[in-house]
């Protein structure tokens, strides 16, 4: 398409420039029933998986239908969401912090037509466009990242594994059979964008090879002291190298100290480390952010490596499905996965989930590693 100006004048970039106006204020988009009863809610109930009702002091009710979203979506899908909101909800819709979509109506009679409309819609491939669920003690949407769609440091994909895992656990998105909610997250490298470090089950992209050094360009592309300071294990030092008879400033990587975090590549484009066979995923488990009963927890590494198996990641989804099933049948009511593992002991967790315990899982990062070892005789055979 030929160029169509928006009215911006590249000759005078600062002319008529509007800045620092921030986002639109949230209450501009409140449905009337929400605006009216803000701060006046009495109680809520989950009527069925994916459907909630909130009752206000005034007696007003608002019914919420939550449905899954792929997070990465086209404008045509968003237009369809808007059409649905226009048709059923007076044009109002909202997104949750796990990227589900919530449609709200103010009358019980409007709920069933909305549910029927949402659950009837499918993509040409057969997938549900708006599967209803994600409430209560089930498996809600997976918080995830860019992956091979857009990022330059990933060790795995995001959208692909998320689709594979959600397909595997889809029944639990639409039911409440878990002892407590199970939060699953994915990050495609250990920058851990998102929630992997504090989720019940986390999928994390991981490298297994040290960076390659592009000596010829390194000093030109990179600020060498930054690359050196980016290394958590001090594996990088400055070095002089000779390329084609030319003395160049560069860095040297001590491969014995490198644990393939990829931080140096983030800072220096001449140190790429992605590798088809080397890269894969790590599974972590047992994190949470809420303060309910027990304090928030970090998730712990439970599977050191599973190879990338695009497009369906069968090994990883099987491990996760199995972990969820064992947790569902073994944990007590209200017990999050981390609470359960800590109560029965991690040695029992590995036994019950039939996960191999390897030396990779034993912390060896600096002084705090010591506190993760067992300084007691209390353990189960």
């Amino acid at each position: 398409m030929a160029f169509i100006s928006s009215g911006y004048n590249p000759e005078k970039p600062m002319e008529n420039r509007i800045t620092d106006i921030g986002p639109r204020k949230y209450d501009e988009f409140y449905p009337p029933v929400i605006a009216k009863n803000k701060g006046q809610w009495l109680y809520h109930e989950i009527l069925q998986p994916g459907v909630l009702v909130h009752v206000a002091k005034s007696g007003d009710e608002v019914y919420t239908v939550r449905c899954g979203g792929a997070r990465l979506m086209t404008t045509s899908l968003i237009n369809e969401i808007c059409d649905l909101a226009d048709k059923h909800c007076g044009g109002y819709v909202r997104w949750t912090t796990r990227n589900n979509i919530e449609f709200m109506v103010d009358n019980k009679s409007k709920v069933q037509p909305l549910i029927d409309d949402l659950s009837g819609r499918k993509f040409d491939g057969g997938s549900f466009k708006f599967p209803i669920g994600g409430t209560g003690a089930g498996v809600s949407n997976i918080v995830h990242t860019q992956g091979w769609i857009h990022c330059h440091t990933p060790a795995t994909d995001a959208s692909g594994p998320v689709k594979a895992v959600m397909d595997e656990v889809f029944a639990d998105f639409q039911s409440h059979r878990m002892p407590a909610p199970v939060r699953v997250s994915l990050a495609c490298c250990l920058n851990m964008c998102g929630a992997v470090h504090c989720s019940d089950i986390a999928i994390l992209g991981y490298h297994r090879k040290p960076p390659m050094l592009d000596h010829e360009y390194l000093d030109k592309m990179c600020e060498i002291p930054l690359a050196i300071a980016s290394c958590p294990t001090a594996a990088i030092k400055p070095a002089k190298v000779e390329i084609n008879g030319q003395k160049l400033n560069s860095v040297a990587v001590n491969n014995d100290r490198c644990m393939y975090c990829g931080n140096c590549y983030t800072m220096c484009p001449s140190m790429p480390l992605a590798d088809k066979e080397g890269d894969g995923i790590v599974i972590m488990a047992g994190g949470k952010v809420s303060n309910r009963i027990s304090a928030p927890k970090f998730s712990k590494v439970v599977v050191a490596f599973i190879p990338n198996e695009a497009p369906r990641w069968p090994t990883a989804s099987k491990v996760i499905k199995n972990m969820i099933d064992v947790y569902a049948s073994d944990a007590r009511k209200y017990e999050r996965l981390g609470d359960w593992a800590e109560r029965i002991g991690w040695e029992r967790f590995f036994e019950k989930c039939e996960i191999d315990f390897t030396h990779h899982l034993i912390d060896d990062f600096r002084d705090p590693a010591y506190y993760t070892w067992r300084q007691t005789t209390q353990f189960k055979f």
Partner: protein
């Protein structure tokens, strides 16, 4: 890498318009970036920022932190943005011939 011609000189640049090598910087490069960055006229303050950036990079091998740049030049961040509308990274560092800022930017 694409090359750009400006005032009879040619420069290799990346897709964001940063120069390929700090050493290939010249006065013409400043004039070329000026046109790209929406700066009408270069004054002494622009030149001071560029000079400080180049001096700091030559001495330390990194671009200065924004607070350091502010303190050494005496220009508040707001003033640096007035001089370089794209900011100290995309505007000033590019004009000074420093490597492209990296990290989660």
């Amino acid at each position: 890498m694409p090359t750009v011609e400006f005032s009879g000189k040619s420069f290799s640049v990346d897709e964001d318009g940063f120069i390929d090598d700090y050493k290939n910087w010249s006065e013409e490069w400043v004039q070329y970036v000026k046109a790209q960055e929406g700066i009408d006229e270069l004054n002494d303050e622009h030149k001071k920022v560029i000079e400080v950036l180049r001096e700091y990079y030559e001495k330390n091998g990194i671009a200065p932190m924004v607070r350091v740049l502010s303190k050494v030049t005496g220009f508040k961040l707001k003033h640096i943005y007035e001089l370089f509308p794209s900011g100290p990274g995309k505007g000033a560092c590019k004009m000074a011939g420093l490597p492209k800022p990296t990290g989660c930017v």
